[in-house]
C-alpha cells in the first residue's frame, strides 16, 4: 500500500516542504530511499527500522521504497525520519492516518523523537504551505510554536506520533504511555556536541577592566553605533578581557531582529529555544577557523560565523593569525550585510549584518611602541605582520584603539571604573536616539544621510577639514570620522555634532600609511 506524508528539510535558513511517499510492496525484503538523499538520510533506514521494532510495531518484511519529492532537490539531515517511519506503518496498514498532517523529527533506535536543528523555519515553511497541523519532537515544541498559523502538536515518541495521526486533532486521551526504556545513566550530551563555539552570555563586568580609558571609550562608541573596532596592544593589556565584557554591553534585539536571530539560532541548533531570542549574539571563533566555517557552506550549507553573529558581534582575537582568505571573505558580508554561497546545484543567502570587533598585537613579539626597547622586531617584520590585514578590510574598520600596557598603579589604585550596567544604559539610550533619527544605527550611515545626521555648522565643518588635512584622509576616511563623531554626540545626548565630538572621533582614526603605530614620530 502506498502512504504519503508531508515533512520538511532545511536549505540555508529556509525550510523546504518535502513529500515523503512510502510504498510497501510484496517482494524481496528491502528498504530503498530515492530522491537525492545524502548520507545522514540514507542512514535513516537503520534508525527507522530500530524505532519501529522498539515501539511495539512490526517492521514489515517486504519491499519498501521511499520517494522524497521534489526529486531534483538535494535533501539532507534527519528531519524526515519520523515521516518515513509513519509512512511504513501506514503502508503496512498498522496505522491508519486521519487528516492532513505534517511530521518532523529524528528518531532514536528506541523510538524516541529527537529535536532537529532548523525546526522553526521548517514549521514556518509548512505553515506557508497551508498545512494545518504538524507533529514535532517535544523538546522543539516551544520553538515550533513561534511560527504562526499552524497547530503544533508535540510528541515524545514514534508511538505517540502514530496515535496522534491516527486520531483526528481532538482525539481521545493518550491511551498508551510511550514505551521507552532507555539506559538512563548514559548521558546524552548531544547539546554540547552540536554547538561549535560556545556562546558566552555571562562575561566579566566592565568594572573589572582596569585603566584603558581610551579603549573603553572606543568599545562604548563601537557598541553604541554598531561600528567595527580593532584593539591593538601588547599581550596582557586586556584586549581579550575587554572583548569578553561585550555580551553584557549589547542592547537587546528588536522584534524583527529577534525573529531572524531565532531562526538562525534554530538552524544552528546549538541551544534549545524556549522563546524569541532577545540577546544579541557574540561569537568568538578561534583563529584556526576554516573558510567555510566563517562564511558558511559545507555539505549541509550550514550558516557560518558571520551569520551566527548576525545583528551581534563577531570577535576575532589575534586578527593577523587568521587565514588570509578567511579574513578577505569578511569583506562582502561587512559591506552587504549578507553572504551568498553557491555550490553546484544549490545556493543560499544568509544574513550577516555583524559588527566586527578584533584584537591584535602591534608586532609579532607584541611589544612595539612601549618605549622600553623590549621590542626587537625589525621594521620589515612588523610590516609583514600588520599587512596580513589588507587595506580593504582596514577601510571597513571605523575605530582603531590602542591599548598600551597598563601600569601597576592602575591595578592597585582605588579608582573604581564604570560598571557594565552604567555603560549599557548609555549605549541603549544612544541606540534609541539613532533609530529615532535615521532608522538605523550610525555605522550604516553614508553620504547624504550621514551629512544630514551630523548637521555640522560652518565652524565644525572647518574643524573637520583641518582634521582631514592633518591626516590626508580620503572621502571614506572623512565618512568614518563623521560616523564616529555622530555616535559620540549621541552618547552625549547632543543633537548636533560638535567640535569636541569630532576631536574624540579623530582619536580613533585608522593609522595612516602602512604601519599601525601612527608613524613613530610626527
Amino acid at each position: 500500500m502506498l502512504a504519503s506524508l508531508l515533512s520538511a528539510t532545511l536549505q540555508g535558513l529556509d525550510g523546504r516542504p518535502i513529500r515523503v511517499e512510502v510504498d510497501v510492496a510484496p517482494g524481496l525484503p528491502g528498504f530503498t530511499i530515492v530522491g537525492l538523499a545524502d548520507t545522514a538520510l540514507q542512514e535513516a533506514r537503520e534508525r527507522v527500522r530500530g524505532a519501529i521494532r522498539n515501539s511495539g510495531y512490526e517492521y514489515p518484511p517486504r519491499r519498501i521504497t521511499v520517494n522524497l519529492a521534489p526529486a531534483d532537490m538535494r535533501k539532507s539531515g534527519a528531519s524526515l525520519d519520523l515521516a518515513m517511519a509513519l509512512g511504513i506503518l501506514v503502508g503496512s496498514e498498522q496505522v491508519r492516518a486521519n487528516g492532513r498532517w505534517a511530521v518532523l523529527g529524528e528518531l532514536s533506535l528506541g523510538g524516541e523523537l529527537r529535536p532537529i536543528p532548523g525546526l522553526l523555519p521548517m514549521v514556518a515553511a509548512l505553515a506557508r504551505r497551508r498545512v494545518r497541523r504538524v507533529v514535532v519532537p517535544v523538546e522543539g515544541a516551544d520553538e515550533s510554536r513561534l511560527a504562526d498559523g499552524i497547530d503544533v502538536v508535540p510528541a515524545a515518541t514514534l508511538a505517540e506520533a502514530a496515535l496522534l495521526v491516527r486520531e483526528s486533532s481532538r482525539g481521545r486521551a493518550r491511551s498508551r504511555p510511550p514505551r521507552v526504556e532507555m539506559a538512563a545513566e548514559v548521558g546524552d550530551d548531544l547539546e554540547a556536541s552540536r554547538s561549535g563555539v560556545a556562546c558566552e552570555s555571562g562575561g566579566p563586568d566592565l568594572a573589572e577592566v582596569r585603566g584603558q580609558i581610551e579603549a573603553r571609550r572606543a568599545l562604548e562608541l563601537a557598541l553604541a553605533g554598531g561600528h567595527c573596532l580593532i584593539m591593538i596592544g601588547p599581550p596582557g593589556s586586556g584586549k581579550t578581557l575587554l572583548a569578553r565584557t561585550v555580551p553584557g554591553l549589547l542592547p537587546p534585539l528588536d522584534d524583527e531582529e529577534a525573529r531572524v536571530a531565532t531562526i538562525i539560532a534554530s538552524v544552528a541548533g546549538s541551544t534549545p529555544i524556549r522563546g524569541l531570542v532577545r540577546s544579541r549574539p557574540f561569537r568568538s571563533p578561534h583563529h584556526t577557523i576554516s573558510y567555510a566555517a566563517m562564511v558558511g557552506g559545507g555539505p549541509h550549507m550550514s550558516p557560518g560565523e558571520v551569520t551566527l553573529a548576525n545583528d551581534g558581534v563577531l570577535f576575532l582575537d589575534e586578527l593577523p593569525e587568521f587565514d588570509r582568505a578567511t579574513l578577505e571573505a569578511l569583506r562582502q558580508p561587512l559591506e552587504d550585510g549578507r553572504v551568498s554561497i553557491a555550490r553546484v546545484g544549490r545556493a543560499a543567502v544568509f544574513p550577516s549584518r555583524f559588527q566586527l570587533i578584533a584584537a591584535m598585537n602591534p608586532c609579532p613579539c607584541g611589544h612595539a611602541g612601549e618605549g622600553d626597547g623590549r621590542c626587537r622586531c625589525q621594521a620589515a617584520v612588523v610590516d609583514r605582520y600588520t599587512n596580513r590585514i589588507s587595506g580593504p578590510l582596514r577601510d571597513r574598520i571605523d575605530l582603531w584603539a590602542h591599548m598600551p600596557r597598563v601600569r601597576p598603579e592602575e591595578y592597585v589604585g582605588a579608582a573604581a571604573p564604570e560598571s557594565s550596567a552604567t555603560v549599557l544604559r548609555r549605549i541603549v539610550d544612544s541606540r534609541r536616539r539613532q533609530i529615532e533619527r535615521g532608522g538605523c544605527c550610525n555605522s550604516r550611515l553614508t553620504g547624504r544621510a550621514l551629512r544630514a545626521a551630523c548637521a555640522l555648522s560652518s565652524v565644525e565643518q572647518g574643524h573637520a577639514i583641518r582634521l582631514a588635512e592633518m591626516e590626508g584622509w580620503s572621502a571614506r576616511g572623512i565618512e568614518r570620522l563623521l560616523r564616529v563623531a555622530r555616535t559620540a554626540a549621541d552618547l552625549d545626548g547632543s543633537a548636533r555634532v560638535e567640535a569636541a565630538h569630532l576631536d574624540e572621533a579623530a582619536r580613533f582614526r585608522s593609522p595612516s600609511g602602512r604601519r599601525l603605530g601612527f608613524a613613530a614620530v610626527i
Binding site: E214, L502, G513, V521, I522
Partner: protein, 481 residues
C-alpha cells in the same frame, strides 16, 4: 673605498674639477637636471654613470681621468666594442700614471699606494658591461631624478657643501630634495642615536634637536626611526630646517614609516639628501656610508642614545676621524640604550665630550644665544612649515621658555593641563587621566587638538610631546600635577 686626498694627483675632486671645467668652460651651477645644454648633458652623464651598480667613486674618478668627461665615457661605451675599449683605455691611463707613482711612492714611501694602484687599473668585465648597458637605461634614471624633483649637486658645483668637500672621499654626487641652502648653513650639527630608544632618549633627542635649531644650527641626521626621527621631528615642529640623509635612494625611501616626516622636512625648508642613485635600495652596506656623510656634513656630532653596537657609534667614530667635535649624552651605567655612549666616552677621554644640558651643549658648540637667531637676515632662517602654522609660530624673541609659555597660554584649560603633563615625557591616556582626573572623553578630544597644533604625536596609544613641548624644559622642571 678610496683615500683620495692622500693620493695627491689622483684625487678625483681635482681630476674631476679640471676636466669638467675644461669640457664645459664654466663651473656647473646646481640646477635641476635638464637634457638640453651641454653642461647639463655632462651632469646627466654623471648621474647615469654613478647610477651603475658597483661603480664607486674610485672607478668613477679613474674613468674621468682616462676619458676626460663622463659624457666621453658614455659615448665610448655606446660603441659596439664598448666594454673592451673602456677597459683598455682605463688600463692604458692607469699604466701611465703608475709610472708617475713609482717615483712619487719612492719619495713618499706610502704603503697603500700599490694597493690603490692595483684596484684602480682594474675595470672588471662585468662592470664594463654594466656601464655599457647603463647607456640605454641612463635616460630613465635621469628622468626619474627629474620626476622626483631632485636637484643634483656635483663635487664641482659651488653649492656642494664645503664641509663635505673637505673630507676624505667626498661623494661625487648628491641628490637633494628640498633646500640646497640648508646644506651650506653656517652651523650644522648632527644628532644621531639608536633606532630603539627609550622614552627618555626620544625626549632628549627632541630637546637637543629643537634647542640646536633654535640656536641657529641646522640639525643633520639619518631619518632612521628612533632618535634620528625624534630629532628631525622636533626641528620640523619648530618649523626650522633640518637635513636628513638617506641610506638608500630617494625612490626607495627608507624607512617607509618616515615618508611623511621626509615631506614635512622638505616643507619646513630643510633637505632630504642621498648619495646613491634614486632606485638604490637601502641595505646593510649602505648605512655606514650614510653615517660618514652625516658626520661629514656636520661641524659636530651629538649621540643621544646608543647601544653597545649601535650604528650611531660609527657616526661618532667618523666624526673623530674627520676632525669633528663629538658629544655624547651619558646615561645610567646599567642602561642598555646608553651603554654605547658611556663606553665611547670612556674610550676617547680627551676627544669625546659630555652633554650635560641643552644650554650647555649650545654653549660648548659656540652657537649664538637663542634670541639672536630671530634677527633679520639670518641665512639659516628657513621657510615655515605649512602644516604647523599654529599659534607657536610667533617669534620667540626672549628666553627659552617664552615661546612655550605663550603657546600654553593660547591653549584651553584642558589642553594646557595635558600639555603640562606631557612636557614630563610620553604618557598614555591612562597616565593623563590619573594625573589630571579629567574624564576620558575630554582627554581624548584635547589630545586631538594638541596633535592638530603639532604639540603631540601619538604612537601605539602613547602620546609623545612634539613641537614646543619637546623643547628643553630648563633646569626647574615642573613637578607632576
Amino acid at each position: 673605498m678610496l683615500g683620495v686626498q692622500s693620493l695627491g694627483p689622483l684625487a678625483p675632486r681635482r681630476v674631476a674639477e679640471g676636466i669638467v671645467r675644461e669640457a664645459s668652460g664654466v663651473p656647473l651651477e646646481p640646477a635641476p637636471v635638464s637634457g638640453h645644454s651641454e653642461m647639463s648633458s655632462e651632469r646627466d652623464a654623471w648621474v647615469t654613470l654613478l647610477g651603475v651598480p658597483g661603480l664607486g667613486p674610485v672607478t668613477f674618478a679613474s674613468l674621468l681621468a682616462a676619458f676626460g668627461s663622463a659624457r666621453a665615457v658614455l659615448d665610448e661605451a655606446a660603441e659596439t666594442a664598448g666594454p673592451s675599449r673602456l677597459r683598455e683605455a682605463l688600463a692604458h691611463a692607469a699604466a701611465d700614471r703608475a709610472n708617475d707613482r713609482v717615483e712619487a711612492a719612492a719619495s713618499r714611501s706610502d704603503p697603500t699606494s700599490d694597493a690603490w694602484h692595483g684596484r684602480r687599473a682594474d675595470l672588471g668585465a662585468d662592470l664594463a658591461r654594466r656601464i655599457c648597458e647603463s647607456v640605454s637605461v641612463g635616460a630613465r634614471t635621469v628622468e626619474l631624478v627629474r620626476s622626483l624633483g631632485l636637484t643634483v649637486v656635483t663635487l664641482d658645483d659651488t653649492a656642494y657643501p664645503d664641509r663635505l668637500r673637505r673630507v676624505d672621499m667626498p661623494p661625487p654626487l648628491l641628490f637633494v630634495r628640498g633646500s640646497i641652502d640648508s646644506l651650506a648653513a653656517s652651523h650644522s650639527i648632527a644628532v644621531v642615536g639608536t633606532r630603539r630608544p627609550s622614552d627618555k632618549g626620544r625626549l632628549v633627542a627632541g630637546w637637543i634637536g629643537s634647542g640646536l635649531a633654535r640656536a641657529g644650527a641646522v640639525v643633520v641626521s639619518g631619518l632612521a626611526v628612533g632618535i634620528d626621527g625624534a630629532a628631525h621631528a622636533a626641528v620640523v615642529g619648530e618649523g626650522l630646517a633640518t637635513v636628513a640623509i638617506l641610506g638608500g635612494g630617494h625612490a626607495r625611501l627608507f624607512p617607509r614609516a618616515h615618508e611623511r616626516l621626509a615631506d614635512a622636512i622638505v616643507a619646513a625648508g630643510g633637505a632630504v639628501i642621498a648619495e646613491l642613485a634614486p632606485e638604490t635600495p637601502a641595505s646593510r652596506g649602505t648605512f655606514p656610508r650614510r653615517n660618514r656623510l652625516v658626520s661629514g656634513l656636520s661641524d659636530a656630532v651629538v649621540v643621544v642614545e646608543a647601544g653597545r653596537r649601535s650604528g650611531a657609534l660609527i657616526t661618532a667614530g667618523w666624526a673623530l676621524e674627520q676632525g669633528r667635535e663629538c658629544f655624547l649624552v651619558p646615561g645610567p651605567i646599567d642602561s642598555p640604550t646608553s651603554a654605547g655612549c658611556n663606553a665611547f666616552l670612556r674610550t676617547f677621554p680627551g676627544q669625546a665630550r659630555v652633554v650635560c644640558g641643552v644650554p650647555e651643549l649650545i654653549e660648548d658648540l659656540g652657537l649664538a644665544a637663542e634670541d639672536a637667531t630671530d634677527g633679520a637676515g639670518d641665512p639659516t632662517e628657513p621657510g615655515r612649515s605649512k602644516g604647523h602654522a599654529g599659534a607657536h609660530r610667533a617669534p620667540s624673541a626672549t628666553a627659552a621658555g617664552a615661546g612655550r609659555a605663550a603657546a600654553m597660554a593660547s591653549l584651553g584649560p584642558v589642553e594646557r593641563l595635558l600639555a603640562e603633563c606631557l612636557v614630563q615625557g610620553p604618557a598614555t591616556a591612562d597616565d593623563l587621566a590619573a594625573r589630571t582626573s579629567l574624564p576620558g572623553a575630554a582627554i581624548l578630544s584635547a589630545l586631538t587638538l594638541l596633535e592638530l597644533r603639532g604639540f603631540v604625536s601619538g604612537s601605539y596609544g602613547r602620546y609623545i610631546p612634539a613641537g614646543l613641548l619637546a623643547r628643553w624644559p630648563g633646569s626647574h622642571q615642573r613637578e607632576p600635577v
